[in-house]
Point group: C2
Chain length 332, copies 2
Amino acid sequence: MAAASDSTELPIAADIDAAAKRLAGVAVRTPLLNFPVLDARLGARVFLKAETLQRTGSFKFRGAYNKISSIPTDRKAAGVVAYSSGNHAQGVAHAAQLCDMPAVIVMPSDAPAAKRERTAALGAEIVLYNRDTEDRAAIAQDIAQKRGAVLVPPFDDPLVIAGQGTIGREICEDLTALGLIPDIAVVGASGGGLIAGIALAMKARVPSVAFYSAEPEGFDDTLRSFASGRRERNSRMSGTICDALMTNTPGVITFEINRRLVGAGVAVSDAEVGFAVGYAFRELKLVVEPGGAIGLAALLAGKLEVHGLIVIGVLSGGNVDAGMFDRLIAGG
Amino acid sequence: MAAASDSTELPIAADIDAAAKRLAGVAVRTPLLNFPVLDARLGARVFLKAETLQRTGSFKFRGAYNKISSIPTDRKAAGVVAYSSGNHAQGVAHAAQLCDMPAVIVMPSDAPAAKRERTAALGAEIVLYNRDTEDRAAIAQDIAQKRGAVLVPPFDDPLVIAGQGTIGREICEDLTALGLIPDIAVVGASGGGLIAGIALAMKARVPSVAFYSAEPEGFDDTLRSFASGRRERNSRMSGTICDALMTNTPGVITFEINRRLVGAGVAVSDAEVGFAVGYAFRELKLVVEPGGAIGLAALLAGKLEVHGLIVIGVLSGGNVDAGMFDRLIAGG
């Protein structure tokens, strides 16, 4: 794969190795955590990759940094542009900041002030749009063209996918050090970049590991796409507590990878996700946002047969506001 | 040091090595975490040992397990007894459970139901006492004598201190792997077992590392004892959000170690501790109880000059109920 910014070629394991080199000493090498209390509950050995502890509180920094640090020198001054009100916004803003590049983030005008402030604090310029009347992708494209800035897609990009894949590479390294071979992995899917990258990295080392996507009920476009063989769309764009998992349809590149390497998944209810957030608070002492807890939720809800297996989950983000967190942990 | 259960001999570094062998594969080898956002704030390289991720949610499991697994075979059937309504109770109950030994925990009758249930769920028998009219130490001693059970002290015991010392041993191992030498460590002190064990382990490897105790304002018996050279007492036994740090006076053994190896400390207000709990939620995505956050609070409040240094902190526990946690994170 070339490092060109608009490539739609499929990334391969070597691209993840290259991403790991770029991210070394920059991204946090997050711990792969094991909790005896969770193992006892599930009758399995469960390892959770804590991307909640990554820069900006989610895995998104990895893909953004891999993409942005690959931009050729002569295009650096024009900077980058992205559209997101959530974890991708912060990942892009912080990666650009570390690369000494300007960043524009296109956000809905009704995005919570806290998210705008947080992204602005990372040095990004915020451009607001009207969610009802304007098209954020068109606005971002327009800014990119006018400024010569590089658009950083949230998932459907080989360099972004390869960046997320470094998570799978680290998981394999840590398991190898423990003398363990994973049996099964469950990873949240929205656009599908996280699970695509991790599956690419892990399947290259352990072809036998079985992958499952986890999605909110009603937003299981990836699961339905596996069944139909084509990219299905969700009928709604709101209505789950998993605000990080509301992408409308799988990406072109990500789906091509995921239908080959994953091909199976589960849907999880908001109540099950809420329970997982509370469980992580009470038993694991970790702050996980709803979308970041969906893989754990699938395990706790017994959606997958894991008894006796070595199981991998990813806690993909921890950016939840205090009010929402309080509501979710109060139920436990 | 002998492994006798009532020894008051000072533990040495070799006792910590022996403890590490007993705890290997049983205690969680908790990660030593680094957060770029915290480094940037303090202008230092800060490493936090996350004992929040230990079995039972605090470091107390280490000392309890080291003590209990050292009990001679002929005394195992009679089990153990301890008095505590908090983290030590859970640590002892769980360690006894793993050693297939009965445990009696003496708890105040007004202890929160959640704490009683949690300790009982770990297999312990709960004996309640009236906080106003009865002496818990006497009750525990009485049970120990009648049953032939071994009393597991919360801190003033060589095996308990050596168990906590494994934390310092792991910190040094992880720093060595990173090629780093610590300059300064700040650790919460109540009875003083945690900081004594860690100082013993780390000073044996890096004699130059400077240690500071952190205590709640009004409960700074260790700090005042450093100043006077004798074991001072706190005038109150309630009135801080750090419920885990309300021991009345330093231990005999722990103070003997701490006056030699630590000798300096800081006191931190409840407001500063509350801020640290909220900061850990918002920025570090970790659930830390007030007492477990006191070292971080000392750093965030600027109580120590750390600019340019390699700094060690310990997040010693995460057992905070949802109501208290909500109040603390709402302020941020």
